[in-house]
Symmetry: C2
Subunit: 364 residues, 2 copies
Amino acid sequence: MRSDRIFNFGAGPAMLPIEVMEKAQKEFLNYNGMGASIIELSHRGQEFISVLDRCDRLIRELSGLPDNYKILYMPGGGQMQFSAVPLNLLGRMPQKKALFIESGSFTRMAREEASRYGAVKVIASSAGTDFDRIPGFDHNAIEQDASYAFITSNNTVRGTCWNKFPATGEVPLIVDATSDIFSRQMDFSQCGLVFAGLQKNLGPAGLGLVLVRDDLLEYAMPQTPRLLNYKLYSEEHSLVNTINTFAVYMLMLVLEWMVDRGGISQLQVINEIKAKTLYDVIDRSDFYQDFAQKGHRSTVNVTFSVANRSLLDVFLSEANERGLYALKGLNAYPSLRASIYNAMPLEGVQCLADFMKDFEHRYG
Amino acid sequence: MRSDRIFNFGAGPAMLPIEVMEKAQKEFLNYNGMGASIIELSHRGQEFISVLDRCDRLIRELSGLPDNYKILYMPGGGQMQFSAVPLNLLGRMPQKKALFIESGSFTRMAREEASRYGAVKVIASSAGTDFDRIPGFDHNAIEQDASYAFITSNNTVRGTCWNKFPATGEVPLIVDATSDIFSRQMDFSQCGLVFAGLQKNLGPAGLGLVLVRDDLLEYAMPQTPRLLNYKLYSEEHSLVNTINTFAVYMLMLVLEWMVDRGGISQLQVINEIKAKTLYDVIDRSDFYQDFAQKGHRSTVNVTFSVANRSLLDVFLSEANERGLYALKGLNAYPSLRASIYNAMPLEGVQCLADFMKDFEHRYG
């Protein structure tokens, strides 16, 4: 790593690949010989349209997204979709009802937002065990008159993830994949819609990526704000308003970097090694404590704690000194979290694992 | 100017000050000695909060915004406010009625969007003269039971602007100032709310700036999406979701640059000289044609045409060769537009004026 850079384990906006950052810096004043930055060019000009087209192609190449899915780039990030999803999809069925399998606080926020526009029903929840797992549920609970069923593929805060998405029959499965999109292979054909804010695996903050099956574009309610309307975004190639051009450009660079790394399957292999490296240190003694139940552990957000809580501040302070940054979790417990998205190199994870072992050796 | 940069007369996303771009490039990989880019840091961390706080202070310092106005940074740009304004403000009065003084296609879009949520009334329009002026109107038309009255301060497409905002009595005046905010002095105390997308005078695309009087935060309708709710943004210092951190950071740099330039009053002096330089060339003969009525002419979007339309392509092509970029207007007529926001240096305008005179000399 460059000596002036840290390993940033923050949950997002997160570390981006150094190769991407260096390329963006190099052409920041002069994109593609235009004599202007990409952020200074019209979103309707040929240069930017090429960037947008390239994102489309790279996403399809990397993800194997079926042809009947549209790619939309929308204002805001993941949370804006908490409103857009019900506004666009509740009208699919007359009951205007959405089902939620609640695996964390973000699923809960999505459900609260949906309740503005229709009926919501929690068919399973792991709130009772503080979201330490993906809840079990009865497939019969997927009521077939529901407009959609909603899950969060990875719980950033608690560090759990769905290993296999639930089968929901004819009810479209909606997946908030903000924290793990393109970090592991997903079967998009099983989903009606997948969305993600860019700021964890895909780029900077301020843009939402939406992958949506084209039969789901027809149900927007009349009160849907123009800039949250999927059909309009699909028809106008996401250029309904002035799009966040910088975020689209950075997304293109990140996607190119992913292709260079061998695509999602190869990134998944590395991400699993990275996660195992940390979980192995956590599991080998009682010095560290895990949080997420085994079998439900996230590959991209590793949550843990130091059994002796009085050592937490020392841990964080020593880590900072070694350039291991932003390891503090959101909550009192689990108090530590290492977010290790695609851009976190194995080297960074190894440094953290070495530090954890050394810390245990000195304080254990 | 640096020899590898063009003068970009595009309407937006637009040219940014070269000093701002160079600073952003220099610290792109390492912000403030953090060892990470500003776009890689948490929006809830101390470093980014300092950036947000500094934007607040600079906006108040530059604009003289009264203390009872809140500063909000919201997803999307100007157009997202076409939905947010009615959702937040129509409920101010039981009639849920909004008044529009229509001076261009964007006012019309704002009106169409508002009609989803309440009653709309156009009290004056210059559509009949193809928006070549700000429409005259009778002050009695400002019905005092309206929730708000809406204007667009500068028509980017047609090149007109309000010289003096209309007096609307107790009815809050809502101003879409996307294309001229902080390019000239405005009396914000006369307005209930002023909004702008950043991408013309203030930064890159993907963020909306909203300046709103604090008594107007109380009227959001129940169907208002969480991320369009003014009160929530006010209460949470715009950190309701993951904010577009890059845009906020660039805004800070642009605002600092504006202070260095002597503030809005000094920028206005320069902007008026820039506009006069171009209008003088347009007016001195019949070779060029103006479009906006005198007395209604925009200082930041100068629209014009070549009387002999067969010369248009030659004009654009020769301009491009000289590094005078993106002069094509949106419409068949006026076919040319020079957008000369704060970041366009006098030197660029002088180059364009010289080229126009030379072109006239050769083809007139």
